[in-house]
């Protein structure tokens, strides 16, 4: 009936040896998990304080803000975008809440307003990216400047100490066995679980991956690409707003000069966590692991007594290694 030669049962390109090891390492979050475990093992051998519950808790507490901003960053990067404004948006949130509460307004109302304003900034960036098709890098670079300036204008240069219980609630501690745990840590881990569910178990999540992986295919199969991208930037900015609340709990002082490197730190965490800057590939737990790698590194080197500059150096190496691994595994797939 058919004059064509029928295909052999399997047409899968064979992947063996170096290539398959590379593929495994590049599959997030396996590679980053190995790195995290390796650092933990090293620091638990060379110091006798690293594994103490209070120290491990401190590592996580210090990772809460960047870890939360990095969740939103992961969503944006999965669509092949980038968000340089996330730290500045969170600072805007802390200043709005801090100043208004200082002025005597109701704390809950101020907190909600701050989160809403943060979310609206995401609506702006999402609209510019999805409707006007402006490059995300430029849009969020511009917003970084605008939001930072707006924050300074609102704060009028000053910082606002937070005395309100609700605003600093996320820094409150309870103990789990002997481990001190803050509510902020619980919120961050809860957000990771929530985003894991949304990304892997819902159509929205799958479509976010598809848009980053192949925008033209996403469009051809009828996914409303523009609307999805707008929703990603909006949702990410909502997470930055929650990050603002976590920041007020961590350091109860709304400071317009805080979190200046949080945007790059969160991108670092996402990349070390194995999410591809080209979009469409990645894993939210990888981002958590990436955040923790940076946290463990800083904490461990401090405990050992090594100059903290080494932390930046090692982090830089890890970022380049992670991107190189992603790039190499892409070439192999071609």
């Amino acid at each position: 009936m058919s004059t064509t030669i029928s295909a052999p049962p399997s047409d899968v390109k064979p992947k063996r040896g170096f290539g398959s090891i590379l593929q495994t390492l590049a599959r997030p979050p396996i590679g980053s998990l190995i790195v995290l475990i390796a650092f933990c093992v090293i620091f638990s051998i060379v110091t006798n304080t690293f594994l103490a519950p209070s120290n491990l808790s401190l590592v996580v507490q210090q990772s809460v803000i960047v870890g939360t901003l990095a969740i939103g960053e992961t969503l944006v990067i999965l669509t092949a975008g980038i968000d340089l404004a996330n730290g500045s948006i969170a600072v805007l949130g802390t200043i709005i809440a801090g100043r208004l509460v200082n002025d005597g307004y109701d704390a809950l109302g101020c907190l909600v307003l701050a989160i809403v304003v943060c979310t609206l900034v995401g609506v702006v960036s999402g609209t510019l990216v999805s409707r006007l098709k402006l490059p995300p890098f430029i849009v969020t670079l511009g917003l970084l400047g605008i939001v930072t300036a707006a924050t300074r204008l609102i704060s009028q240069g000053g910082a606002f100490p937070v005395t309100d219980d609700l605003l600093s609630w996320t820094g409150n501690v309870f103990t789990l066995g002997t481990t001190p745990v803050t509510y902020g840590m619980v919120i961050m881990l809860g957000l990771y679980a929530l985003i894991w569910y949304i990304l892997t178990q819902t159509a929205w999540g799958r479509q976010v991956y598809a848009i980053g992986n192949s925008p033209s295919a996403a469009r051809l199969v009828g996914i409303p690409v523009g609307r999805r991208i707008l929703s990603v930037y909006t949702f990410a900015a909502l997470l930055y707003g929650l990050g603002a609340w976590l920041a007020l709990g961590r350091i109860p002082n709304a400071d317009p000069n805080a979190l200046q490197t949080a945007n790059l730190d969160s991108i670092t965490a996402v990349v070390i966590g194995g999410t591809s800057l080209f979009g469409g590939r990645g894993n939210i737990w990888g981002t958590l692991i990436g955040t923790l790698i940076v946290g463990v590194l800083r904490n461990g080197l401090t405990l050992v007594g090594i100059d903290p500059l080494w932390q930046d150096l090692v982090t830089g190496v890890l970022v380049i290694a992670a991107v190189a691994l992603d790039q190499l595994s892409r070439w192999r797939r071609m």
Binding site: M1, S2, T3, T4, I5, S6, A7, P9, S10, D11, V12, K13, Y197, Q201, T202, A203, W204, R206, Q207, Y209, A210, N213, S214, S216, A217, A218, L220, V221, G222, I223, G280, R281, R333
Partner: protein, 261 residues
């Protein structure tokens, strides 16, 4: 217009002009139930414009489109899709990093029954896998496994996934716009086998192609376009490949009466 089998899609006197250029100068078109109808023509003969009319991408200036004998007006390709018409493009419409089952259901994901699906919007992954495998088996489309990433597949298999998707969701007909143009010989064979399998399931297929051997291998009838009109509606058994090419290029008169331009 009384054919042995019923007409699924029909057009009468379709005219489409772009400024002074008449892309389609009154095209009649008919697609019978359960057939593979090839639409061929030289570059600029109007086949892609005709396909855009049939798939809802553009609206004709004159003439009517009938689906199941009813005059219809597509407002968009999505509208055509809602009416059961699926289109496969030359461009690969697959997300390489996602697995085969996810690609099959991309944009039309199935949710779980009950509160998990309704309130938590939870995907029904097992069902999508199961159904995807069943459809692939029915289409006799051999794949390494439904959970493999599409990027692990050959080019022909990737296009096969897009073709299978159209076959699974089309209720009326499948339009394929040069689906094998980017593929090698053996990979083309895989896609042609799929086209036959779709027809054997009872779905009519409109195949737009440049490739005469491909057309003669799978088509039941051939609609030949020339200068914005249908110049012949022939049977590959009654005309040789050389004849059809001659009609297409104007070296031989067609069978359809062509009004003087």
């Amino acid at each position: 217009m009384t054919a042995m089998t019923s007409l699924i899609m029909e057009t009468r006197g379709i005219v489409k002009r772009y400024g002074h250029v008449t892309a389609l100068g009154g095209v009649d078109f008919e697609l019978r139930d359960g057939e593979v109808l090839a639409v061929i023509g030289d570059n600029g003969a109007g086949k892609s414009t005709l396909v855009k009319v049939l798939s809802g991408a553009i609206n004709p200036d004159e003439g009517e489109v009938l689906l199941d004998g009813q005059a219809i007006h597509f407002s968009s390709p999505l509208d055509a899709r809602i009416r059961g018409i699926e289109t496969v493009y030359q461009e690969l419409a697959v997300a390489p990093a996602l697995d085969i089952a996810s690609n099959l259901y991309l944009g039309r994901e199935l949710r779980r029954a009950g509160p998990l699906g309704r309130w938590l919007r939870m995907l029904d992954k097992p069902k999508m896998k199961r159904e995807a495998q069943r459809h692939m088996d029915e289409l006799k489309f051999r794949l390494p496994g439904i959970t493999h990433a599409v990027e692990d597949l050959s080019g022909g298999q990737r296009q096969g996934v897009a073709v299978a998707r159209a076959a699974v969701f089309a209720r009326k007909l499948v339009i394929m716009d040069e689906p094998t143009a980017a593929l090698g010989v053996r990979e083309t064979g895989q896609v042609l086998d799929l086209i036959k399998a779709i027809r054997d399931r009872g779905l009519p297929v409109i195949l737009i192609s440049h490739n005469m051997p491909n057309v003669f291998e799978v088509a039941d009838r051939i609609h030949v376009m020339r200068l914005g009109r249908r110049v012949a509606l022939t049977d590959p058994k009654s005309h040789s490949m050389a004849d059809v090419v001659a009609i297409m290029t104007g070296a031989m008169p067609g069978t359809d009466p062509v009004p003087e331009a």
